[in-house]
Amino acid sequence: MIAWTGKKTVEGVTYAADILFLSYLAFKELLSPARRGRHEALRGIARQILFTGVDALPIVAAIALMLGLIVIIQAGIALPQVGAGAFLANIVVVALVRELGPLLTAFIVVGRSGTAMCTELGNMKVGQEVAALEAMGISVVRFLVMPRMVGAIVAITCLTVFFDLVAVIGGFLVAKVTLTIPFLVYLGEIEQALSIADVVITVVKSALFGLTIAVICCHHGLAVVGSSTEVPQQNSRAMLNTVAACLVVDIIVSVGFYV
């Protein structure tokens, strides 16, 4: 038992070190002054933003609208019953903007783009494409990991802002069917409840989620050795580890800023 615990601990620490090291290498490539391959890197970033951000807008809008509706209806009905009807905006800001918005957006991105990144890189490993890049003297981190990381950070940050807007405003407009509070009053209360710090922390959190998702999924994709059967295995590991890592990041940021 002790040996098993020790082995798992060492594996966990090694895994975390690998992820941090890959993040470091990706940031190093991002800040590298080398001009060569910039065109390809920019193209990779644009492609990642398009796939992770723009293409995900409809599904994010739908989920945000439904979640906003649920939270606002539940809070709008339950809070007046305990004499706390005036706190609807505060609940919406705390639940949707601070927590559910960034976290659910991250989970959508994990399911859509994280798995795609892992599968794509895994298949590239199997097809010797990664070996060919190395043989050509092209940095795999610069060509494959860094653009995905930057693209995911930009896309998920924008998606989270979009999610929050749709959930807070769209959710209310739909919930208005059962609620009596006027829209402008609601907006005024949201404005009062929402601080600049909330917006900044949400953006920071989203950026960290983007970094976490991209680096972990790329790590697992590149961990495929040579068989196509490894791709789905690495994919499911990437999914679970990314969701767990996002929750850890969320706790760290929330405790760090709000406690």
Binding site: G37, E40, E129, A131, A132, E134, A135, G137
Partner: protein
Amino acid sequence: MSEAVIELDHVSASEGILEHVEDFSLTVHRGEAVALVGSNRSGKGLALKLCAGLGEPSAGSVRVLGVDPVSASAEAVLQLRRRVGVVFAKPALVSNMSVYDNVALPLRYHAALTEAALHGRVMACLAECGVDLFHDHFPGGLAMGDARLAALARALVVEPDILIVDEVLFGLDADELIRFRGLLGKYRREKGLTIVVSINAPTALFTLMDRLALMRDGRLVALCPPAEAARVDDPMVRDFFGNN
């Protein structure tokens, strides 16, 4: 004798449980064409990787263009990679890029060319390899032979000093093999390209080679000109050339 560009000195290495080389020595000189010949799992694939400076030996030493890829600095290894073109057994073209972008990729990373100059060079190389018609296709839509010719174009476009081709016959039909052979011969003749290939069956390509390195079980059985290879007294060689 011209300078040695690849020097493998008593090298041992392994990859997985099936592929290994034992006490393997080979020196290839500039402009020479050498084929590593043997059946599957004879170790020729790994030996070829070592010739490209890609593998890491467990014993012995490797020098490619005067650089020891294991102990050299990252910059020296990068410079080495730019001078060695590698064509893998699988075409290994980047699947989400067109054939044109695949061939342009090493130039975009390693050459300071304007987009117009790059376009001219890439299209000329694609035309030379006979795959210019597919320049806007993605690798997934190509036949294996065309994909391998596109991979050859990607390796040649940077005008390397050494060309390494793994399983040179794989996926090529008769016409494509003739084209492949013609290209290797032309680059060797006109640009002094050093060529090292691996081959797992007797082929007309042998006539292009200066020497054959016959391999069995990770070891070098014989190193001789193609004309003498069939006379080597070894059971594997006899089987290989159908002399049994």
